[in-house]
């Protein structure tokens, strides 16, 4: 008789299920959803480098610099639940190549003006080309993970998965609702979409296209996340902290009324100043009045937005590049349909 391999949490209702060795799918007795255990798969886990107290400490330090943060949080917060969860992600490297023919654009110039031309006529001509890309692809295998941006670890080596590792850290293992096949199809769709993007930069009409997409080894990686629920002055808040890097994945926190009021006050000041200036200057120059109002009103709107925004944030890993790179784009894809 096979022994208990581990305990899984239903990704739909959160009920715990003991799983025996060899059990690959479980039908939840509480909500009826069937989820996968992937016991037969080669699985990996990101190591837990930060225990709950260290993770919480880093969270509070990070939260303190966020907008509208209430300074009395560390003194008055009451921890309701602190638990370690291992969420599954499918990751793979995808090789994608394409050869295409189509109609590209070119220009015919006329009416010279110095080194340039006054008239340009766009024409189309036959073109062909090819692209080859290596794409890193990651998608949550369970719908519970609130991936707001990139799912990128922070320079920590992955380990081979074992139930013993999860038990040792007192963690909860989450079942997956996305099968390997579904993940593969999603990776292929993402790769095809990227090839389409590359092709559309070169031609306006595609005549023929031949894609070769090969999804490398799809691995299931469990990411350890501290899930913290806390109360502050009677209200509940939540923080999800990566236990491997202590990066705050997503958090809500109490907002300080005084800070909200200050931003609203600054917003009102800018708006009043803009309207007053506009009214005073209107008689002598309407354009000056409109310009002053536009500038002050924009600043006012920004301060108002800061005052009214929900107290919710996350800590990015890739810190504000000019435009999202390929890797980030693929990571943001969550729609599996």
């Amino acid at each position: 008789m096979s022994g208990v391999a581990g305990t899984y949490r239903c990704p739909n209702c959160g009920a715990s299920h003991e799983v025996r060795e060899g059990d690959v799918a479980i039908r939840c007795g509480y909500c009826g959803v069937t989820f996968r255990t992937f016991e037969e798969e080669k699985r990996y886990v990101l190591p837990v480098h930060y225990d709950s107290s260290k993770a919480l400490e880093n969270f509070l330090l990070w939260a303190e610099k966020q907008h509208l943060y209430d300074e009395s949080l560390p003194r008055e917060m009451v921890l309701r639940e602190v638990s370690l969860h291992f969420y599954p992600f499918w990751v793979a490297t995808v090789r994608a190549s394409t050869a295409f023919t189509g109609l590209g654009e070119d220009a015919e110039y006329s009416n010279p003006d110095g080194k340039g031309f006054r008239t340009v006529k766009l024409i189309r001509r036959e073109e062909s080309g090819s692209f080859e890309r290596l794409i890193e692809f990651a998608v949550p295998a369970s719908g519970e993970v609130p991936v707001e941006g990139e799912m990128v670890a922070v320079s920590r080596a992955r380990l081979y998965f074992s139930h013993e590792y999860v038990r040792r850290h007192g963690g909860v293992l989450h079942g997956a609702t996305v099968s390997r096949e579904e993940a593969r199809r999603a990776a292929e769709r993402a790769a095809a979409a990227e090839l389409t993007r590359l092709i559309s930069r070169e031609v306006v009409e595609v005549r023929s296209r031949s894609d070769e997409i090969s999804v490398g080894e799809l691995s299931l990686v469990y990411v350890p996340v501290w899930d913290v629920t806390y109360e502050f002055r009677g209200k509940k808040y939540r923080a999800m902290i990566d236990a491997s890097s202590s990066r705050v994945i997503l958090a809500t926190y109490p907002s300080e009324v005084a800070e909200r009021a200050a931003y609203l006050g600054i917003s009102a000041l800018h708006l009043v100043a803009g309207i007053t200036l506009a009214a005073v200057i209107w008689g002598s120059s309407w354009l000056t009045a409109v310009t002053a109002l536009a500038g002050m009103a924009t600043a006012s709107a920004y301060y108002a937005r800061a005052a009214l925004a929900p107290a919710k944030a996350h800590e990015p890993v890739t810190e504000g590049r000019r435009k999202p790179g390929l890797i980030e784009r693929i990571y943001m894809m969550r729609d599996m349909t």
């Binding site: 320079s155 080596a157 009045a289």
Partner: protein, 333 residues
């Protein structure tokens, strides 16, 4: 992938941090290299500065960025794997650039477009940096890659003594994967340059010829520090003779916020002062297109100053980029 059994160095028996995806590992005790594929050339390393020098530097940097009361919470000395590929990239491009010119005939001023063909070839020898880890990043990675690009020529063979105390990360990219990423990086870099030259790009095709590729271990110090109860990150170049802060998060003081508010208001008023100069032009005999541009320009600029100043004044921290962040360096061309 290297096997699970390779958690200990096969040369000296020292423990090695190995992930299932590691394809090249370096033992920080004896410098022994293991690879799951035939490595074209041995990995190199950029020599790290002495540990004490780095600790002292990080302390000074933290006090400088965070103020007198700032303190270090966490420091990691990490040798990160960066593949540096040298290749020749030839890009042929075709497009045009649009400029607006004005012509006055008597009282009438006309604005019209002139199209300049932008056609040619970029032919350059490039060095491209590719981070050797998958699905991972570090704070300041862009700057680390640029540092690797500027120092890899001076990199030398592995010196285990110099790596003692450093966390050495293996590469999860094979040489072929690194080449593919480098070729894409070169093509993207050329495309960005072409797009900056032209208003519209019709074609932009890049061909590459590979020259050489090396795996370089680059020393980086990652730190978290605390200032007035808030946490910030720091990335320091740990190379010998080149220790410097690459990227830093720093607090924003109340004075700085007030300064941004005042600067913003001043910029809006200065832009508004253009009104009396531009207004008469709207009644001149100019084209409709020109009138629309003149009408929209001052309020548009003022709105921009308002947005930028409010954004700076409400920022939760300052992000200081103290080094270039590029993946590609032009060697020749």
């Amino acid at each position: 992938m290297l096997t699970e059994a390779a958690h200990r160095c096969q040369n000296c028996g020292a423990p090695i941090e190995l992930s299932p995806d590691t394809v090249v590992s370096v033992c920080s005790y004896c410098g022994h290299v293991e690879s799951s594929f035939p490595l074209g050339a041995s990995p190199l390393m950029v020599r790290p500065a002495r540990a004490q020098e780095l600790r002292d530097f990080v302390e000074r940097a933290v006090r400088k960025e965070g103020g007198k009361g700032a303190s270090i919470r966490d420091v990691r000395f990490v040798a990160v794997p960066v593949w540096v590929a040298e290749l020749r990239a030839r890009t042929r491009y075709n497009g045009y650039k649009v400029e607006h010119k004005t012509r006055s005939t008597g009282r009438r001023t006309t604005v019209y477009k002139v199209y300049y063909p932008v056609t040619g070839t970029l032919d350059e020898r490039l060095a491209v940096a590719v981070y050797g880890r998958k699905f991972e990043s570090i704070f300041g990675l862009g700057a680390v890659k640029w540092s690797a690009l500027t120092r890899y020529e001076a990199a030398g063979g592995l010196d285990p003594g110099a790596l003692r105390g450093w966390e050495v990360l293996g590469s999860e990219l094979t040489e072929e994967e690194a080449w593919k990423s480098a070729e894409v990086g070169a093509a993207d870099a050329h495309r960005s340059r072409v797009e900056s030259m032209a208003t519209k790009v019709f074609d932009c095709y890049t061909e590459t010829d590979r020259s050489s590729i090396r795996l370089v271990l680059y020393p980086v110090v990652e730190a978290r520090y605390e200032s007035r109860g808030k946490s910030y990150r720091l990335c320091v170049d740990g190379a010998e003779g080149g220790v410097k802060v690459l990227k830093a998060e720093a607090p924003v003081s109340l004075l700085r916020r007030a300064k941004w508010m005042l600067v913003g208001a001043g910029a809006v008023l200065a832009t508004a002062a253009l009104g009396p100069v531009i207004e008469p032009l709207l009644y001149e005999d100019v084209s409709l297109e020109a009138k629309l541009i003149l009408l929209a320009l001052p309020p548009g600029l003022a709105a921009l100053w308002g947005y930028l100043s409010a954004r700076s004044a409400t920022a939760i921290q300052r992000l200081k980029r103290l080094s270039k962040e590029e993946d590609v360096r032009v060697l020749e061309g």
